[in-house]
Assembly symmetry: C2
Homo-oligomer: 134 residues x 2
């Protein structure tokens, strides 16, 4: 995995949470939504079909794990999962806990409005809670 580097936009918009078997787990720095991003730690990935089949099986398990954790910790109405990459080509998967009535509801969070960063203490508390429940 030595060639894996994170796209600068992902570095700028997120905080490191942990590394799972395949993916780096990032917290999107937007306090309006519990929102993690999974980035498979392999070089040169753009589309889902650039992964090997075993890595795809790992990725979908990690997406489900993140979704279950967000659902449990946030009591979300619905988990949204998306891999877009129109602006950041490096393969990354958003897993977002949505609440009926949140800022972008029922539309997608992507492209809706500028993010609202956490204060440091709240961000650290969020990360600790996620790690304890995933």
């Amino acid at each position: 995995m030595q060639d894996f580097t994170l796209h600068p936009r992902l570095v700028a918009d997120t905080a490191f949470v942990t590394d799972w078997m395949l993916s780096r787990v990032l917290l999107m720095d937007d306090m309006r939504y519990p929102w993690v991003i999974l980035v498979p730690r392999r070089p040169h990935l753009v589309e889902l079909f650039d992964l090997t089949k075993p890595d795809r099986a790992l990725l979908v398990e990690e997406i489900a794990r993140a979704a279950q954790c967000l659902k449990t910790t946030s009591g979300a109405t619905k988990i949204n999962v998306g891999a877009l990459g129109n602006q950041v080509p490096q393969l990354h998967v958003h897993v977002v806990a949505r609440q009926d009535g949140d800022t972008a509801w029922p539309g997608p969070v992507w492209g809706h409005s500028p993010r609202v960063p956490y204060q440091a203490a709240a961000r650290n508390a969020w990360i600790a809670r996620f790690l304890n429940s995933s």
Copy 2:
């Protein structure tokens, strides 16, 4: 799979393409984007973690297969994959071929603007091409 029924909104917005091992494959009836929707043919699914692990592995392979086919047939800039479900709770996965400069670019297609239906002949031709290349 006898309890599988398609949500009325999915029936209204799409055309049947085929059944793969796990998923019903639907064409979103919006001529602006090559866009398929995969619906796992199991009853009572809402979230990805409601599927069994073997079904999740199947689903991610079917998503990759649809994405590869759309990429090949459309020459898309980027494939967008999304499972939202804020308005249609039945688990379904969008696989959309995006072009730099399309109507919603670089934002998401979901919630952007009302769909523009195909004419019947064009829709049938699209389905035939997809079946031939997937």
